[in-house]
């Protein structure tokens, strides 16, 4: 995380040395773009806060551990599409579930949809790419995630 600040700071410094006026324009553009998307980000945050309350980690763990692999995958990909979790929360959770005996295939379905499919990021994605593209991209990503889960299942001998 601190690398991000370091890199950004260096980039701004370098830019200012080369052309101060251009740098000010860049910062202005940054501010403009940020405030323009702020309502979309706010909408997303509100949705996230509510969904994380309705669908807590404990509930996800419960459903992913289902003995039936098919039901497990359906639940995993639904939860993964619906919720939003940073990697540093999601992977330790998956690590625990793995030790509990949840299959790699189900966890692959969960993490991949978590990363690629974003129902909660819809307000932000739509703001940039429009409704049509957003829906197509998410549907395609969902099927890609299922395919990945399937291949993982084959390689780990879980099918």
């Amino acid at each position: 995380m601190s690398y991000l600040y370091l890199a950004t700071g260096l980039a701004v410094l370098l830019s200012a040395i080369m052309d101060r006026k251009k740098t000010l324009v860049a910062l202005y553009i940054a501010g403009q773009k940020f405030t323009a998307t702020l309502p979309a980000f706010l909408t997303m945050l509100i949705l996230v806060s509510i969904v994380l309350f309705v669908v807590p980690d404990t509930m996800i763990s419960h459903y992913l551990g289902n003995d039936n692999k098919f039901i497990g995958i359906v639940c995993a990909s639904s939860f993964g599409s619906l919720t939003l979790m940073p990697g540093f929360v999601a992977y330790p959770l998956c690590g625990i579930l793995l030790k509990k005996g949840v299959s790699y295939m189900v966890l692959a379905a969960f993490t991949t949809t978590l990363m690629m499919v974003g129902i909660l990021t819809y307000p932000v994605e739509k703001e940039y790419f429009g409704v049509k593209v957003t829906i197509i991209r998410n549907v395609v990503s969902f099927f890609i995630a299922l395919l990945i889960a399937l291949v993982i299942g084959i390689f780990f001998g879980e099918l």
Partner: protein, 176 residues
């Protein structure tokens, strides 16, 4: 008129949400407090990343010439364009919500659609810090197989979606 109405509804909904949180904290309504703390912890997480991301986008907008982006990532570019954006995606931090504004800037500078979608997909699944994290909890074998399967699928589906939209002369229209 429609736009005004939408904005008003959004504003009212957000205000209602704010009042609900405030009331929950004052009256000690625990579901409301839980939602409030979710909101704040996620906001802080995003506020750590977004300002830097937008400053970098701003610098990209003023310093990188359109012709240059077009040549390397535009219609005339070859397969190497996909490699470039996947490498760029690898260094992306945060989540999809950071990738969208970056992807949009790439698109406006003349990047072709299939390359833009590859960037978004790769930013979701190929972020280097995240993959290291994944491997440490799920095992190297898992991460390796996942990468090997997902990267080609992302490229193929992006080419398909990009071509499909470009054939129909589809223009990306923000918010529509």
């Amino acid at each position: 008129m429609m736009k005004m109405q939408k904005k008003t509804i959004r504003f009212l909904a957000m205000s209602a949400y704010g009042v609900f949180l405030l009331a929950s904290f004052l009256l000690g309504f625990s579901p409301g407090k839980q939602i409030g703390s979710n909101f704040f912890s996620f906001s802080i997480e995003m506020l750590k990343i977004l300002p830097c991301a937008f400053v970098l986008i701003g610098l990209f907008e003023v310093w990188v010439k359109k012709e240059k982006v077009e040549r390397h990532l535009g219609r005339e570019s070859g397969f190497i364009a996909y490699v470039w954006v996947i490498l760029l995606a690898g260094t992306t931090v945060g989540g999809l919500y950071v990738a969208f504004p970056v992807a949009y800037s790439l698109y406006n500078k003349g990047t072709k659609l299939s390359v833009v979608f590859t960037y978004i997909g790769a930013a979701a699944i190929c972020r280097i810090p995240m993959t290291i994290f994944e491997a440490s909890f799920m095992g190297l074998r898992f991460s390796f197989i996942r990468m090997m399967v997902s990267v080609p699928l992302v490229i193929i589906s992006s080419i398909w979606l990009g071509n499909y939209l470009e054939k129909r002369n589809y223009k990306i229209m923000a918010g529509k």
